[in-house]
């Protein structure tokens, strides 16, 4: 079953400068997808379209087959959402914020609420404004998951947290995943977190989809090729090759990403392109990110 669907989604905040320029992909039930992109790539906008905070100006988003704007109530009841810049009312206490959420969701699980409150050592009496950033995020996570959502949308959930708070967040998410098989779309700049959680990677750049692949395939079936760009310019030859996703300058050398396994890639580069002395290597997610979007303006 398709839990979340983006169909050719466009969105601009100012006329003529689109933040999203035709994004299409979908999540099946139980999938955990990492959404990657530079700051300003459109990740937050895309997630806000999914939750119905803003509307797609062209194309559409569907959550459980519903329109997140027209069927806002039902969608919000079945979705959990945490973002980096989420603001909780400062003058309320932890207990009051939780009570507020409990009242909104018919499916609220008080056992889970208690478990998470104890795990995070959150005192119901503490005022929100006295909490650390990590504690405030834990309150937000508790409120986002205690109604047992079928879809969890996390926008930089670990942004600004220290490593132990990040790990705690990750552990909680994994436990929830274990218990309920929740479908999750999350954006993050922490590639190690992404590798632990996600089985699929969607990378967007300047509002367009750049990559949508199984994470293990990215590690095993993609190759970084490094070749000297002498004696002649080899850019065009690499760019025109089958399976080549990107070419960029790196000093005197060229770096190219191929959607081919390293050994196969080496054959293509040497035999088909006639380029000797190519160094072909598998590539980690973080380097893949730099290679694909780092060099683009």
């Amino acid at each position: 079953m398709r839990v979340l669907e983006f169909n050719d989604v466009y969105r601009a905040y100012q006329r003529g400068s689109d933040v999203l320029r035709g994004i299409t992909f979908s999540l099946e039930a139980g999938e955990v997808v990492g959404l990657l992109g530079k700051n300003g790539a459109g990740k937050t906008t895309l997630i806000r379209v999914a939750i119905g905070m803003i509307e797609a100006q062209k194309g559409s988003a569907r959550v459980f087959g519903l329109d997140p704007r027209a069927d806002a109530l039902e969608v919000k009841r079945r979705v959990g959402y945490v973002s980096e810049d989420q603001v909780l009312p400062e003058f309320l206490s932890v207990g009051e914020v939780i009570r507020l959420h409990r009242g909104l969701f018919p499916t609220w699980d008080e056992g889970l609420e208690r478990r998470l409150r104890e795990r995070f050592a959150l005192s119901p009496k503490s005022k929100i404004k006295t909490l650390s950033k990590g504690q405030a995020r834990q309150v937000a996570l508790l409120c986002a998951v205690a109604h047992r959502p079928e879809l969890l949308l996390l926008d930089e959930p670990a942004g600004g947290l220290d490593p132990s708070a990040r790990r705690e967040f990750l552990e909680t998410s994994i436990q929830l995943l274990n218990e309920a098989g929740t479908t999750i779309l999350f954006s993050s700049h922490y590639m190690t977190d992404v590798e632990r959680m996600a089985s699929r990677i969607v990378m967007i750049h300047e509002g367009r989809l750049l990559l949508d692949n199984n994470l293990d395939d990215l590690r095993e079936k993609f190759t970084l090729v490094m070749v000297p760009n002498t004696p002649e310019d080899r850019r065009a030859r690499l760019r025109g090759a089958a399976g080549c996703l990107s070419v960029r300058d790196q000093g005197d050398a060229l770096h190219a990403i191929f959607a081919l396994e390293p050994e196969r890639c080496r054959c293509v580069v040497e035999k088909d392109l006639g380029i000797q002395n190519a160094y072909c290597t598998p590539i980690a997610l973080e380097d893949m990110f730099i290679e694909l979007v780092g060099g683009r303006s």
């Binding site: 790990r167 632990r196 050994e263």
Partner: protein, 126 residues
């Protein structure tokens, strides 16, 4: 059973799990017949997605090293199933091919690879 995920490793996480279980069986740190942790327990212990553990176990099961008994759990096989000698060689071919490619990519000579294999063999026997 102690497993560890190294975020900087060249291998994807499911391969790291496979490799560590294979190594543990080869070195006798896990015995034949021993039960492996469930998908959920291992996922929580390693802080990784349960699907990743499932993928590693499925692949090890396909290779005949472990078996899952419905409702009971996953176990290291008492006896690795008998394979035709010809197939036994074929199964290694893939790994050998990759080893030699890797050696060629890194500029390690064939003789050096043989020396390395002998060294590792000594380590396993000890």
């Amino acid at each position: 059973m102690q497993l560890h995920i190294n975020s900087g490793d060249e291998l994807p996480i499911y391969r790291q799990i496979m490799r560590q279980i294979i190594d543990a069986v080869a070195a006798g740190r896990i015995s034949p017949g021993e039960q492996l942790p469930s998908h959920r327990d291992l996922a929580e212990q390693l802080v990784i997605a349960p699907l990743t553990v499932k993928k590693a176990y499925d692949e090890l099961e396909r290779q005949g090293l472990i078996s899952t008994q419905r409702g009971r759990g996953t176990f290291v096989r008492e006896r690795v199933p008998a394979i035709e000698p010809a197939e036994r060689r074929e199964r290694l071919r893939d790994a050998a091919q990759r080893l030699l490619s890797q050696a060629a990519l890194s500029g390690v000579s064939f003789d050096e690879v043989l020396t390395l294999l002998a060294e590792i063999q000594k380590g396993i026997e000890r």
